[in-house]
Symmetry: C2
Subunit: 234 residues, 2 copies
Amino acid sequence: MPPHRTRRRIPEATVARLPIYLQILIEQAEADVDNVSSEGLAELAGVNAAKVRKDLSYLGSYGTRGVGYEVEYLVFQIRRELGLDHEWPVVIVGAGNLGQALAGYGGFNGRGFPVGGMVDIDPAKVDTVVAGARIRPLEELPKIVAAGGISIGVIATPAAAAQDAADRLIAAGVTSILNFAPMVLSVPSTISVRKVDLAVELQILSYHEQRKANNSHSAQLHAVNDERRRGASA
Amino acid sequence: MPPHRTRRRIPEATVARLPIYLQILIEQAEADVDNVSSEGLAELAGVNAAKVRKDLSYLGSYGTRGVGYEVEYLVFQIRRELGLDHEWPVVIVGAGNLGQALAGYGGFNGRGFPVGGMVDIDPAKVDTVVAGARIRPLEELPKIVAAGGISIGVIATPAAAAQDAADRLIAAGVTSILNFAPMVLSVPSTISVRKVDLAVELQILSYHEQRKANNSHSAQLHAVNDERRRGASA
DNA sequence: CGTGCTTTGTGAAATCGTGCACAAGGGATC
DNA sequence: GATCCCTTGTGCACGATTTCACAAAGCACG
């Protein structure tokens, strides 16, 4: 077994796909599938088989030629590589519509990211309970982050408050941010930020819809191609 | 003025940035800024100025050398290119926690994507009213899509129901899907799909957190670099 | 134990995306 | 209208990512 050191750097594009593979592998494990080939995994993930092999090769040489990958073991390795061998509590800033939905959503607690706290600037919201968590005042952010050993913050505020939320999160010691506000954040380069923007996604779809509409004549030709593929993106 | 034809194909990476530029430009317009340079826009969007210029050049030659881009005009052009010169009603499948939050979220109605309908498979939910929309039975999907001239569907079901939701949406005539379920969809290649997955985003952040933790010694060096940048991604 | 079938792991080529650097264009000023 | 300054638009080189293609490796079966 190779040393437990930091391996060669994994390309960002690969990092973004590992969670997808992980999800699929967990499903397969639950269906009592023991082995999966790069071909099979590629099919399920909607990507090219060579890409799957190259992606997995960054983790190490965990496949067996002629056989494929052992599902359980691969799950274990991807988890380890992604840092999912322990929980990462998160703190949610903003207890509005979205913040409350996120807190109640299974996607956090069920998947290793328990809600370690929830804050809001509005005194009227403070001390109300959402999904089992009491909303605390924005000022207590440093205390909550420190007490919970929290390093990931989620911004669910309106756009206008997002930068302030980010500044406060960073001041409190958070080093990764998931930003749901439609606003580009300015942060030090040591902080990791991911942005999820509903409107952006819809506008990208709108672009493609318009494109289809404009080319509706030539689209007749393409429409014949009705074969299914996984993960049709864009 | 150039003909109103379909221009050369715009790269996906550019399409994904246009909504960001648009958002920033709208803010600038509201702040009564008339002109913006590629440098200024780049700063606000957290990207390279050359990239901004190249991205915008795909739309046409709408800048003025020595001056920059006229904000209002650029807003108009990006809107047109993205197909945002009219509304795109959407239908939401799944009226659970997430579906209801989405319906109530300003991100839809306020930005040209009004909720044209909402369906759920659970008879107990049908006919209840969420954010001004009455939940309808799943079976009425074709009727709703046809009546509303809807081409974009949003999947807010559990993972297990997502593929069925996609199949029904496509059968009803929808050609673009925004998928919030943690599940890779299998769809014909004529359908555009975008996936938003909370768990995936958090796991990517987890990877980076772990990486920071592993290299905490050498991180001391990098931490000195405390300059701010926009849109620190990943 | 050798042969054949299967699937991995990975060089190498092709494609895509980014950023530099600069010529060309436009406005302002005298 | 000539000159200067500024900023766009883009050719080009570079880096990242994807895909191909195949040798190396493991298993099964005779």
